[in-house]
């Protein structure tokens, strides 16, 4: 019942979102998020749930997307006629076929071998896409137009907002389907094979077949995401199936948290937001993204969701308030330290004489401004280091089960 309520709330939220974020820019960001969520969730069917680290998941996203654009072109040419609302399904089915073919030889093993095959196949298809011009359109890619074909209850999807509702509906269906998959025998055995492929064989399951099923499902949903991309942007290029896109989806899933169903959704939302906001303010946003990623792997191996979920025990023990003050005491110098580093990076990179950062103005080549920033960085770093013991102590206290407390 509780779970059912969550899905209802989720549906209401995605229907209402454009009411609060109605500008053209926000709707376009919402569309990106919907696509990213489906893509990241499909990726986690491999890595988080199936233990298969893929460096080439964009292949299924891209192939699905290209097929979807060709379907749009077919509708435009009058070769066949169906609603644009079904385009993502075309992408999904093509992604499924591609995954079935490639998975038939790549799912023998998980681990490093699988990772390397996914990388090789990814590079192979990305490189081939530049050669096979009639399907992939070479460097320029292939573009279509989503407004042809029969209208859907009067909607022709000329506006981004209409596309949002299309994308959101598909996102909801795909998310629900992927969640339900985790609750099926095949989905649960994917976890079992991830944990211990050998033992899975001794309870009657072929580890390879279990992996293949997850792989094909992941290809299907990645293809749906690609189809949504095709509808939203009406163009696909080599970029959409190359290593950069594959890397991006890994980033989203990992930063969000692999161990939780909702993790990749969090990652997709946060990274889409961070990307569009950061890229607005600085040209160095990719550098910050890289730093953020490496720090996440080092310090938050279970991602943002994992970090939040760590607080379940203190929450249940009713001791979450013990953490509030220590968090603030650590967060303030932490934020100052990070900002002072960012300021130095930006100042080193700027070509202007006057460098303005958060309202403060610096002479970008003056030793004074460097001195000030270095001093702030050092001071905040020391404060940060000093604040850590009390945070650790508070954490231990908040998680401690007092004797006699135990049921």
């Amino acid at each position: 019942m509780f779970k059912f309520a969550i899905w209802i709330i989720f549906a209401i939220v995605i229907v209402l979102l454009p009411q609060f974020f109605s500008s053209l820019l926000s709707v376009s960001i919402l569309n990106q998020m919907a696509i990213a969520i489906v893509f990241a969730l499909s990726y986690n069917m491999l890595l988080g749930q199936g233990g298969m680290l893929s460096f080439g998941h964009a292949v299924y996203f891209g192939l699905g997307g290209f097929m979807a654009v060709h379907a749009l072109l077919g509708i435009e040419d009058g070769n066949y006629s169906f609603s644009v609302t079904l385009i993502p399904l075309v992408g999904g089915l093509f992604g499924l076929l591609a995954a079935l073919f490639i998975g038939s030889f790549s799912t023998h093993k998980a681990g490093t071998v699988f990772a390397m095959i996914s990388l090789g196949v990814g590079e192979l298809i990305a490189a081939s896409s530049l050669i096979l011009v009639s399907f992939f359109g070479g460097e320029a890619g292939v573009s279509g137009d989503r407004t042809y074909g029969p209208t859907f209850f009067g909607y022709d999807f000329a506006q981004d907002l209409q596309v949002y509702y299309l994308a959101a509906a598909w996102m909801f269906i795909a998310t629900l389907a992927m969640y339900l998959f985790t609750q099926t025998p095949a989905g649960r055995m994917a976890n079992a094979v991830r944990d211990n492929p050998e033992r899975a064989e001794f309870i009657g399951y072929s580890a390879r077949r279990v992996r293949l099923i997850s792989f094909v499902m992941a290809g299907f949903f990645a293809g749906i995401a690609g189809g949504l991309f095709a509808v939203n942007y009406e163009i696909l290029t080599e970029q959409n199936l190359n290593a950069v896109t594959s890397g991006n989806v890994l980033l989203m899933a990992y930063i969000g948290g692999l161990g939780f169903f909702i993790g990749p959704m969090v990652g997709a939302v946060v990274l889409t937001l961070v990307n569009s906001v950061l890229s607005h303010y600085t040209t160095l946003w990719m550098l910050y993204l890289g730093i953020m990623f490496v720090l996440t792997v080092m310090f938050l191996p279970s991602g943002l969701t994992g970090f939040l979920m760590m607080h379940r025990t203190p929450w249940h023990l009713g001791k979450i308030r013990l953490l509030i003050k220590p968090y603030i005491v650590t967060a303030i110098p932490g934020a100052v330290f990070a900002l002072s580093l960012v300021a130095m990076v930006e100042m080193a990179h700027t070509s202007e004489a006057e460098f303005v950062f958060l309202g403060a103005s610096f002479n970008s080549s003056g030793p004074m401004s460097w001195g000030v920033l270095v001093a702030i960085a050092l001071a905040s770093f020391i404060a940060l280091r000093r604040s850590l013991p009390q945070l650790r102590e508070a954490w231990a206290q908040a998680n401690a089960i007092e004797t006699g407390d135990q049921p």
């Binding site: 099926t184 050998e198 099923i213």
Partner: protein, 253 residues
Amino acid sequence: MSLLQLQGLSKQFGDTKIIRDVNLEIQPGEKHAIIGPNGAGKSTLFHLISGRYHVSSGSILFKGSPIHNRSPFEITRLGLARSFQVTNIFPLLSVFENVRCALLWSMGYRYSFWHLLGKARALNTRTEELLEEIGLHARRNLPAGELAYAEQRALELGIAIASGAEMILLDEPVAGMSHTEATNAVALIRKVTAGKTLIMVEHDMNIVFDLADRISVLVYGEIIASDVPSKIRGNPRVQEAYLGEVVPGGSDA
């Protein structure tokens, strides 16, 4: 007819012969123990029967049909299940999920992605029963990797018997347990393997002589004796092989 037949079974790694020309027949319902000094090839023999290793020569017949060199999952589906000497469970899954996964194939779910586990009433009831049987019901929601050692062994056994296999291979089921834990484990093994065919490798001779109807002695990859416990105890070749070690069952004979 024998349930399991090993005929001229041999296994070598490189030039090293681990199993040499082993012939053995196990009757339905038999409780058979395989004993022998360390390095005799007991675990290798289990790996051959259960399909983890391929045989070098010879054949293995289960219910009259050959199973050697088949995949572990095919052999398991035929009704031959096993446990492992080193605990081999699904560490991140809950205890409940461990047992439920082990039940899936035998209850006909195969690779289904159109059944919801939560709605599979018979499956879940059976899982609860099994958890009750192996004494882990209170621990059902804990990740299996966080169980205590003896509990993990119980789960290991539970996973092995879940499929309802006719024949069960147990590789040192009580190794590393305290005396009390071992006593409980033996009672558990007796309970859950009632009416089934059992082959076990075990070092604790008290347990072997307690549980087994028949004992085979494996030394340097060869079966030097295979008989009822009372005859094994008096067999001079067995005593010779165990020279320097405790004569099997000698202390409480």
